[in-house]
Point group: D2
């Protein structure tokens, strides 16, 4: 049975194609910077947005038309697996990601939920044998059920903490079973609604303990995935403990967890926190904490996580710039934590949206690599900081000076000559690279 | 004497040029949609940002290096005129714009200020004889001097109202003298800091009276420029009366001024008000109120008017889309109400920034025209609304129906079939058009 | 049967009471400014938030514990009516408000939905006979069902327009049947997600036509309620046509509807649009367009409509200041368009929250009236604008002057003396009034 | 000579006073929680806003009327010292704070600047002998001069780094000379405008080195002040490295500086970063990093640092709540980093504003202490987290459990019962405490 029977495998047709079901820029076999696009752009499909999501919003019910919605319960869960692997195959995508509740319905108690999971995990494992699509990461949803109303690992209630731990334990087992490359923690309800009723220290301390126990258990079972924190501000609790990468990094250092985690950085979470996507990537990169990416985009004028499919080529270019400079994402990838708009409710839109996202990152990769190959930014930056290559500058970076020597140096200076930062020229250069990237085709 | 003696006339060199002092996309003679780029893109240089601005910010003093800064007083004003016309000539820009205080220093009283203005206006008029650069619009600065601390046309003090009126009177005379195509009103201090000390009704009524008197005086002296309101929210007063185009339109209608004004829409003011640039353009366009444009951009993560030079090609494309659909801007133009960053302080940066802006709008024009020529959006939109072409839909738009008939119609309907809005596909199409726009070169 | 059987009637116990189920500040019989608090503060309970809402959010399912949730279908609808009137009685609230779908489930087609409505409306009418609680306003929900995915009165599809009209027709009939004082239009999906697929002019024109037909039908059936537009920005469509009061007023004037409508102003919608609540009230008031109020508050750091119960006494004071200055709200009232937080899920919280809101507005009323009685702001404001009482100022406000006379006046002025705006002192005064308001008790 | 000769010493007159030049709530001798208000509320006057600031804004020149403005150069600097100590005396404020450039003009080179500083520091030291007002903290301005256009400790230029170091060296010496209790680092230009030209790693590494050298030098000269980082986002560089307390804490830990610094937390910086003021205080407190406070407030609808005097009693109450819970601020204090509005330009406004701020924090102190004395929040919070006092909860907090035991526990649970978070009731309680705080008077 086919769930997308009017859609064929999506092929690369080049930048002049007018076929809406073809890649225009993503050519999996094209080599960029020594790797194929497919190797570089470790795309993942987010199970929740593509197979479970109904496109409801706070003001209206779901609009999604999905061929599997005639089923319910475990039948629905199984149909989704079939649909998912058909989708992966037709899209040609190397990875997928899921929460436990995306793939299997919760039962009436934890044991039943775990049994449901086991059934579907076995089915997925079976499908994976015949598929090139692997598991980028899995996680558990410790935020949607009312039991997590006041948090999970940072709950006010020890029973909830235990329940959350049991779910993560299972999640780690599932990850190992399916060969997940990473395991993600997004603190959905790990935060507070109001300080007035919150013991912030206890909550954060408990969260630190929770992560240590997760590390211990993964080691115990030999699950060697990269652990990732996914920061997010404001939603759904008013203040999330992992507001942004920096606050997550402060937390990890405080609880001596920094060697066990990296970050999964989502573009829309970055902008909600008041940062650019590339800021979060850079900050993580220079601190050696860049793990993986949730590839999406927000609406700059809306104040919530819109999780749009990435299409802004500036954003994909600057993101890929950081990723290339990072030497790639290692075991991480580009997971489309993105949903089609409520008005884009047909199955076709799922393909349009993923094609748009994959093409946008392919463009970003190509433009970023060209900027790097031509040292457009590097040359400028090196020259800008050249005073730290010798003399007092070298003393500074080598830690061989002090305020006495620096004062002497300063007293001997005339007025300091500055170079322009050339922001406008650099932006024009980037436009030129963007517009020229596919000019030869 | 030259103020930019290391810079030659900026020429179009095409998309492969690596000369930072050349246009890559703006080719003044290239014909798009039946007009040359130069005719379509009626670019203007903002005198204040380019010749008067020192690049200070609230946290630091000016950094700008300007060859005319060795002068002071009226000598400085004259040097700026010389520099300006050299700049216009080298950039090849058809228009400029100014406030009274940009071109001439204020004297110790109104009479002296007017005399200073007369001197410089005469000099500018002289320079304009040998220049192809014309005056897109002028205005007066009724916001910087401490006398306007509590407003100008909406001041709490009748003397201030009179002073503001006298300045606008002079501004209209100057506009007529120099053949301005438009006259702009930006309500710099027309708003309130706190409602607690404000008579909003009196202030708005007075502002309405002020505009009527301005219209009367322009008519009296035969100054036939298009009058423009430039909306802006939040800055510098906490609430500006002309928050956005819609609030300005409400005001104009309430005071029966709507036939005498159009809007000068600034991109960064749009986004500060919570709208996209294209929203403000579209809203003005469909209400027949689109007059002119202040071409710049803001930073999506900063909460104030950054007045950056436009470089975002999505924004310039969607703006040009609206402008083309409007049949052009008529007497209006694209004024670069934009300043180089504080770190871009050399005279060269003034050229880099204008080139970036002009190239960006040239790209926008080209891509928008291709989208229109190929009916990429039009076909989709027409089909989307086709149900209003006949039957009950036609009755609706022709005003020939009522709730009785509509209810009967509704009672006879089964579940309504919807088309997808296809946002993701459309965005991918626009990327493709953008990336292909200069592919043939 | 009782739905709140552990809760007794809420009485006023004064500011020292420690009973969580008592009013501390809202004393319905206390006379303020010549009216009892109950007369002045025409409080309404929002049916949707209090009886239908399950406290789900985009990241989790409902947490609300409601004694009526054991029922379903029409039984649930009936149980809610019983619970509602028990709640109204125990809270002692004079008004309530609803959408059609709050009170009765939709049927499988419009006819069935209307029949369900008729049943429940008859039941409500019956309950109203024995209750002092009346209908402040009703409306219809033309935004939640997938059929309204692309709008209702501004839909791209004529069938949807007809369906929306049929629902409003029914809504007007229901309002008449139940003696509603007002009828509200909130444009839930009247806006656009992207301009790229939108014919804004057709949509707005159709919306204008829709409102005219509604007016005609209300007149036809003799339903004399005040018609109200409730503006809101951003949610749920990216751009809502009624962004704020000013944009709504522009719309009403453009389509010649301004004499048939006033505004229902919601605090949280004001702040989402970048305005203070009191700004929207003042703007509506001075334009004679203030109709009614949705009394809630937002979180200043969150970017969506949180619809919190009002507790900020600054906000309630400044709101009541405008309302008193307006001579009250006429047929309008203070509807608690507010929901308890997801973590406040017990039936008791519904009482706590309404008590908090009612007390907060009672404080606001009392403080505002004292500010007015003592002319704290009035005296300052009158003095501030006194120059418009005679001389050139009087000429200005009487329309008896022109730019010639104003220039003559300005040329004769020395440097203008200004008074301080005294913002800090005024804010301190308001604090003093707030802290003293209940000092005598 | 007097600079405020129409103003007498500000005395406490109680909550019914109508004297605008009296405290209504700040009674320095009143004992709260075992300390006098004066001891608890270690208020400081910010030299820059009160004696140096001219109230210009980006759209207009200064409006401030200051009796010392007839002077210039070093005479002006000396007059400001005289005015300052008169102001401190009349206001009765225990502390003040300054940047180097606030108190003495920069000379034509560093040596001259330092000489100017020495002269004024000697004068201040002399004045301090006869004054009870002490130095809460000093700092140096490494952001306003064009030499810092690209940063100071994080500059791209080693000469600038040296110059900045020399200025901080002098600042530490000045702090020691005047007995400063703290030394503050606000990273005015320590951030980036664009990543495109920035070596973030080198800049942050250098900043870490800079701080270490500062610590070394302070130790060398025996200056034992508490070192403070003042975080701020967005202004003036687009991204500031010390975005908020969490990012500052991540930085300090990464560079092993966490034992040498605490934070100086400014309310308006908190809200610009997307946090509440109380969040930043709480976060610092539970991490033992709360050092001092810049007491001001922002405008919730404006996107920049407005630095308003604190008047919001909710904010002062919640801030004092954290400060009391912290056991006070130790060597820190409440510095009014706040300026009168541009429209509040008279010398009297300086007093009105400080009185407003001091009264507002006095109210906050009193209400917070009553909330603590009555255990209004504590009782609720203790109960909320009581499950961590024994059983599995105790095992969790004592680190004696693991995922196996937690899973076993979870498998044995039925559905978990939750308590309501009672946000609405708590907010009502706080209102009641606020309104009752001065009821007895
Ligand atoms: Co994500
Ligand atoms: Co997201
Ligand atoms: Co402008
Ligand atoms: Co601007
Ligand atoms: Co509402
Ligand atoms: Co709302
Ligand atoms: Co500060
Ligand atoms: Co500040």
């Amino acid at each position: 049975m086919s769930y997308f029977n009017n859609i064929n495998k999506i092929n690369y047709e080049g930048s002049t194609s007018t076929n809406p079901f073809a890649f225009k820029f993503y050519n999996p076999e094209e080599v960029i910077g020594g790797k194929t696009m497919e190797e570089y752009l470790r795309f993942g499909v987010a199970y929740w947005h593509t197979f479970t999501e109904d496109l409801s919003d706070p003001f209206g019910s779901g609009t999604a038309i999905r061929t599997w919605d005639k089923f319910s319960g475990m039948d629905l869960a199984k149909a989704r697996v079939e649909a998912a692997f058909e989708f992966f195959e037709k899209l040609g995508v190397p990875y997928f990601c899921f929460h436990d509740v995306d793939i299997a319905p919760e039962g009436s108690n934890l044991r039943e939920s775990n049994q449901n999971l086991d059934t579907i995990v076995a089915m997925i494992k079976d499908y994976m044998k015949d598929s090139k699509t692997k598991l980028l990461w899995n996680t558990v949803n410790n935020f949607s059920h009312p039991r997590f109303v006041h948090g999970a690992g940072s709950a006010n209630n020890a029973d909830v903490f235990a329940y959350a731990a049991a779910k993560v334990k299972k999640g780690l087992e599932v990850g190992k079973e399916l060969g997940a490359e990473n395991y993600v923690f997004w603190g959905g309800r790990e935060g507070y609604e109001t300080l007035l009723n919150t013991d912030m220290k206890l909550e954060m301390d408990n969260l630190g303990r929770f992560f240590h126990m997760a590390i211990d258990y993964a080691k115990e079972i030999g699950f060697d995935a990269q652990f990732l924190i996914e920061p997010k501000p404001k939603e759904p609790t008013t203040h999330q403990y992992d507001f942004d990468v920096a606050s997550g990094y402060a937390f990890l250092q405080h609880y001596d967890l920094q060697d066990h985690f990296k970050f999964n950085i989502e573009a829309n979470h970055a902008t909600l926190a008041g940062h650019t996507f590339e800021h979060e990537l850079r900050y993580a990169r220079v601190n050696n904490m860049l793990g993986s990416v949730d590839a999406n985009q927000g609406h700059p004028l809306l104040g919530w996580d819109t999780d749009e499919f990435p299409s802004d080529l500036y954003s994909t270019t600057l993101a890929m710039y950081e990723i290339i400079k990072n030497g790639g994402l290692g075991r991480g990838g580009l997971n489309f934590d993105a949903k089609v708009r409520r008005g884009s409710f047909t199955p076709e839109d799922l393909f349009h949206a993923h094609i748009a996202g994959m093409d946008s990152f392919a463009v970003g990769l190509k433009v970023a690599q060209q900027l790097i190959d031509d040292k457009v930014l590097d040359t400028f930056v090196e020259d800008r900081y050249s005073s730290f290559k010798d003399g007092i500058g070298l003393n500074i970076v080598e830690g061989k000076t002090n305020f006495h020597e620096l004062e002497s140096h300063a007293l001997g200076l005339g007025e300091i000559k500055h170079q322009s930062g050339r922001l406008e020229l650099i932006k024009a250069n980037i436009n030129q690279y963007l517009l020229r990237a596919f000019a030869g085709e």
